[in-house]
């Protein structure tokens, strides 16, 4: 009869994901690629915003990784703009993980100084915990979702560097308080940047593009300084 004994582990439960994420981050940095991870509930306008972003970015080399539980609809919508897209279906999975993204990155074989957009599975909870190796999580919150959503799902908005407050063209029709949206976002994340956008009218998209371009420039500067 063997005696019971204790084995020290001291390892993060997500350490495997974090190792893949670190590898992705290195691969991206080596080529001066800017990767952003778009997170939101389903229907906030991620794909529509991406299509508009791609059209307005013109010649900027870029690609998209689309995450959904089922269908290739979103990758098809992206390809219709002329951009390259890979669909990752997570099946029952509620989030993209760094391994899936690394795999998709290999397939895309991105050119140096590209932008990589990752549209995560529509879910305000789980994607917050999974590092993909991205520069920033971008939370999309549409004005029809309710001002209290940042308070109800704080983790996602805490994990994000920017929030795009989308569908502001609908604000006059739906009795919403945009300042309250912003106050609640800042309550759960005092440093979050907020850009009000409409993927429909294009309002605010220039400011968002400006953020992306600044970050991409910063990437190539760090690369050049090496």
């Amino acid at each position: 009869m063997s005696q019971s004994r204790l084995i020290e582990i001291e390892t993060g439960i997500l350490s495997k994901n974090d190792r893949y994420a670190a590898a992705n981050r290195t691969a991206l940095a080596d080529r001066g690629i800017l990767a952003v991870n778009l997170v939101s509930s389903p229907g906030s306008g991620k794909t529509t915003l991406l299509c508009r972003t791609i059209e307005m970015l013109g010649n900027q080399p870029l690609a998209v990784i689309e995450g959904d539980q089922q269908t290739a609809n979103d990758a098809d919508r992206i390809r219709a703009t002329g951009a390259r897209a890979i669909q990752v279906n997570t099946g029952k999975g509620c989030h993209l993980d760094a391994h899936m993204v690394g795999h998709a990155m290999e397939h895309l074989d991105l050119a140096p100084a590209s932008m990589l957009f990752i549209e995560n599975v529509g879910n305000l909870v789980c994607p917050a915990s999974f590092d993909l190796g991205e520069e920033a999580k971008i939370a999309i919150l549409s004005v029809t979702e309710g001002e209290d959503k940042p308070l109800k799902y704080p983790d996602m908005f805490t994990a994000a560097k920017i929030a795009l407050l989308n569908k502001i063209d609908l604000a006059p029709h739906c009795d919403v308080d945009l300042d309250l949206y912003e106050a609640n976002l800042r309550r759960v994340n005092p440093t979050i940047e907020i850009i009000r956008t409409s993927a429909r009218t294009g309002e605010g998209i220039e400011a968002w593009l400006g953020w992306l371009r600044d970050r991409l420039d910063a990437r190539s500067r760090t690369k050049a300084a090496e």
Binding site: L6, I7, G12, I13, G93, P154, T191
Partner: protein, 113 residues
């Protein structure tokens, strides 16, 4: 919502560790879970039982240790401990707090036979 994949992550790590230590059976697993990790403890306990079936950790006890949540208060500049994510600052009653850590999910140790 992803407690199932967390349980699978735990299984991968502990089964590996047990094998390396020539331990045929895992009887207890202690994990530390930060207050802000977003883990639903009941869901994790359930997922743990399901996922460990057929592994050396089948029937093992899962012990979850709470780690306190810390946050930086943007009003008074103090790092304070808070119970819930939306609690006001205990030092100045400010409401703009940014979590500092407290989202850890770590496997501490295993008891094996």
């Amino acid at each position: 919502m992803h407690e199932m994949s967390l349980a699978e992550g735990i299984r991968g790590i502990i089964v590996d560790a047990a094998r390396r230590n020539n331990a045929p059976r895992i009887t207890r697993v202690r994990v530390e879970i930060g207050r802000f990790a977003g883990v639903e403890k009941e869901a994790l306990a359930f997922a743990f039982d399901v996922v460990m079936r057929g592994s050396p950790a089948e029937g093992a006890e899962l012990v979850m240790i709470d780690l306190p949540g810390q946050a930086l208060c943007f009003d008074c500049g103090e790092v304070v401990e808070i119970e819930n994510r939306l609690d006001p600052c205990p030092a100045c009653a400010g409401t703009r707090l940014m979590p500092q850590g407290g989202d850890d999910m770590r496997i501490k140790d295993l008891e094996v036979a």
